[in-house]
């Protein structure tokens, strides 16, 4: 289509028109919602009608009542000046950040709301960033009824296992954390009682001063009335690691020579699982 002056950025839009033929009666039904009579121009047999001679009503004001009764040969045209805009579905792949009341975020961020209608991009926690599993490979007993740290024969689980993240660092039974955060420790110990023992313990303790002092964070207690089948004890706890240089945990047992802690190199029998839950 030709034009004069500056070329329009978009093409001309077509006007909306309803055309009714072979209609009798005094009403026609419009195809678009309008707000009042002023939104349309009505022609009957190509003669413009006075807007005071017709009215609109019904749902969406789509029922047009004319000033007289139509016969089937009459032609009614309704030209729309305005229509009530209804919700429109944007076409596929047409909505981006610029269409929203939103500032662009950075790579990897997710869209969140403050609960009051304001959207923004924010960084989402990466989920589980650390998960590790360790165990003792070799059976052992305790020398007496005092607590003894498990200092040797630790190994990272290596059967159908791969740590997530950096993992813990072990040295003589002391475990260091790879980063600060809240960690879930889940531990299990199996033992075989060869005789009666009323003081069987499996525990874990934490130091925040690199081994000078320890606090027991979990303690599992058990006993045996005599020689019996193997038993299990265990515990779970969460510790908040606020620094990683001097904060370490260890595990220990109390038993005697008649309690054999049943270790294994292929499955968890005396060992623990450590999962970082979140930030400190």
């Amino acid at each position: 289509m030709g034009y004069i002056g500056v070329q329009p950025e978009a093409g001309f839009t077509s006007g909306l028109l309803d055309r009714f033929t072979s209609t009798t009666g005094s009403t026609v039904t419009l195809t678009h919602d309008i707000s009042s009579e002023n939104d349309i121009i009505v022609f009957v047999n190509f003669v413009k009608q006075d807007s005071t001679n017709y009215s609109v009503g019904g749902s969406g004001n789509k029922t047009l009542t004319l000033g007289g009764t139509l016969v089937s040969s009459d032609i009614v045209e309704v030209h729309y000046l305005n229509i009530v805009k209804l919700t429109q579905q944007p076409s596929a792949n047409s909505v981006g950040v610029t269409e929203l009341n939103l500032s662009e975020g950075t790579s990897g961020q997710a869209l969140t709301t403050n609960g009051s209608g304001t959207l923004s991009f924010s960084t989402i926690s990466a989920g589980i960033t650390e998960a590790d599993q360790w165990r003792v490979t070799t059976n052992f007993t305790n020398s007496g009824s005092s607590a003894e740290t498990i200092t040797a024969n630790w190994e990272r689980a290596d059967v159908s296992f791969e740590k997530i993240g950096t993992g813990l660092t072990e040295s003589s039974g002391l475990f260091s954390f790879p980063s600060t955060g809240k960690y879930l420790i889940s531990a299990l110990a199996s033992y075989y009682p060869a005789g009666a023992n009323s003081n069987i313990q499996f525990y874990s303790a934490i130091t925040t001063d690199n081994g000078s002092n320890y606090s027991t964070l979990a303690l599992a207690l058990s006993g045996a009335s005599g020689a019996d089948r193997p038993e299990n004890i265990g515990f779970n706890y969460i510790c908040d690691v606020t620094e990683t240089t001097n904060t370490k945990i260890h595990f220990g047992t109390v038993g005697a020579t008649n309690i054999t802690w049943q270790s294994n190199t292929n499955s968890q029998r005396v060992g623990f699982t450590c999962i970082r839950l979140g930030d400190t």
Binding site: T137, T138, N139, F140, T141, N142, S143, G144, E148, I150, T151, A152, N153, E155, Y192, A194, A227, R229, P230, A256, T257, T260, T265, N266
Partner: protein, 97 residues
């Protein structure tokens, strides 16, 4: 050791030889004598023969204990029957004892 508590590996002998974590394995997936290592330098590494003999003794001790227990059970039942107790009466006594 197996689920009944019968020793079945030289590790069972070593565990009873000294308390604590005085030994380990250079390859924990292959617990043979050649891979036995000693963590506690106050302890002497036993010979392979000592380990073999020690395991055998633990097994024979266990077996002897089991045999004695079974024999004692059979003997007790026999003596009770000689006293005129029925099987149900003996069973009732076992539940009490």
């Amino acid at each position: 050791m197996d689920i009944n508590g019968r020793a079945n590996h030289i590790e069972d002998y070593l565990t009873q030889l000294h308390s604590g974590q005085w030994f380990g394995w250079s390859d924990s997936k292959n617990k043979v004598y050649e891979n036995l290592i000693i963590h506690d330098n106050t302890k002497t590494k036993p010979t392979e023969q000592e380990c073999t003999d020690g395991l055998a003794k633990m097994q024979s001790d266990y077996d002897d204990a089991q045999t004695k227990q079974n024999n004692d059970k059979t003997s007790a039942i026999t003596k009770l029957k000689e006293l005129g107790l029925t099987d149900d009466e003996i069973k009732a006594i076992k539940e009490v004892v």
